[in-house]
């Protein structure tokens, strides 16, 4: 029981890795390194998938076109007339969040220590550990995304309605609502952040409990729900709410 509590505390706190560069020591949290890995994978995938584009799609081009069309339709349905401005931003955030929320499926691969506990074979202990935790289980990463989408809302409001129209929108239905309209800009990112952070952290903790109590068979079935389905759904909800806020901002 004590061991389990320690493990869960370890999952919840972010570890720091020191990088020594030109005599300086730069502390970097593990979430940042996981995000670098995801960024690299996404950049390589997008370069590989968009090479040699043709008018008549075939093979891998079909996959990219399906994804792009899905994103375009999502933004067009929620934002309306000005969707072309925001589709790239929405799509980038969606792809990144889907990858970062579902990266914990690699935890299915058992670590060397777990295999050693089960089988007592010394050689298995040297297998490296694929313990990648989703970066969005860190509250600051989720807050970064929420602040980014709030900045997108403000910029889109200024760009479409100009500064005067944007300032006037604070007094739109009745001027008495002004304090609530200003409060909106602080409450919305907070709620976006907590939704993402709480859901991902909850799923990670539940999966950790299952791994430690029953390391075979059951995690495989349950991680389809907790790692893949929940992660993709939360990424979709985040992007959907962002596009709704943008649509409200450019009215």
């Amino acid at each position: 029981m004590e061991e389990l509590g320690e493990r869960i505390k370890e999952v919840m706190t972010s570890n720091r890795i020191d990088i020594h560069l030109f005599g300086y020591t730069i502390p970097i949290s593990d979430a940042v390194i996981t995000m670098w890995i995801i960024m690299g994978v996404l950049i390589i995938l997008s370069i590989v998938f968009t090479r040699k584009l043709q008018t008549i799609p075939e093979g891998k081009q079909n996959v990219v076109e399906t994804i792009v069309e899905f994103i375009n339709k999502l933004t067009e349905n929620s934002i309306g007339h000005h969707w072309k401005l925001f589709a790239p931003y929405i799509g980038t955030v969606l792809l990144f969040l889907v990858f970062s929320n579902t990266i914990s499926i690699f935890n299915i691969i058992p670590s060397g220590e777990q295999l050693y506990k089960l089988t007592h074979i010394e050689a298995l202990k040297k297998i490296p550990d694929f313990n990648l935790l989703p970066p969005t289980k860190n509250a600051s990463v989720a807050m970064g995304f929420a602040v980014m989408s709030m900045i997108a809302v403000i910029i889109s409001g200024i760009r479409v309605n100009k500064v005067k129209g944007w300032l006037k929108s604070f007094l739109k239905p009745v001027p008495i609502l002004l304090p609530f309209k200003i409060l909106d800009y602080f409450i919305r990112p907070l709620s976006l952040c907590f939704r993402q952070y709480g859901n991902v952290l909850g799923a990670v903790i539940i999966m950790e409990l299952i791994y430690s109590s029953l390391p075979a068979f059951l995690p495989g079935a349950l991680s389809i729900y907790f790692d893949i389905f929940d992660g993709v759904l939360q990424a979709y909800v985040f992007v959907f709410l962002t596009s709704l806020y943008i649509a409200e901002g450019i009215e």
């Binding site: 505390k9 919840m12 349905n77 929620s78 709620s191 907590f194 939704r195 952070y197 709480g198 859901n199 952290l201 909850g202 979709y236 909800v237 959907f240 709410l241 709704l244």
Partner: protein, 72 residues
């Protein structure tokens, strides 16, 4: 730990409300799709939005409970 454990369990009562809210939203959505199958995609997006907003209360309770456990 006694009083604190009680407080944590009270904070987690928020999860009950989220369960009730999401079940209401889903039940109504199923009813609406059964009545008008051609409007399924629109109903789905509205239902997802409602479920996400209802779920927020459970997440707030969960985060507060986590903070209570961590900051003892």
């Amino acid at each position: 730990m006694g009083v604190q454990a009680f407080a944590i369990s009270l904070a987690l009562l928020a999860c009950v409300t989220a369960g009730i809210g999401i079940s209401f939203a889903t039940a109504k959505a199923v009813e609406a799709v059964a009545r008008q199958p051609e409007a399924a995609s629109k109903i789905q997006t509205v239902m997802l939005l409602g479920a996400a907003l209802a779920e927020a209360t459970a997440i707030y309770g969960f985060v507060i409970a986590l903070l209570m456990v961590l900051l003892k």
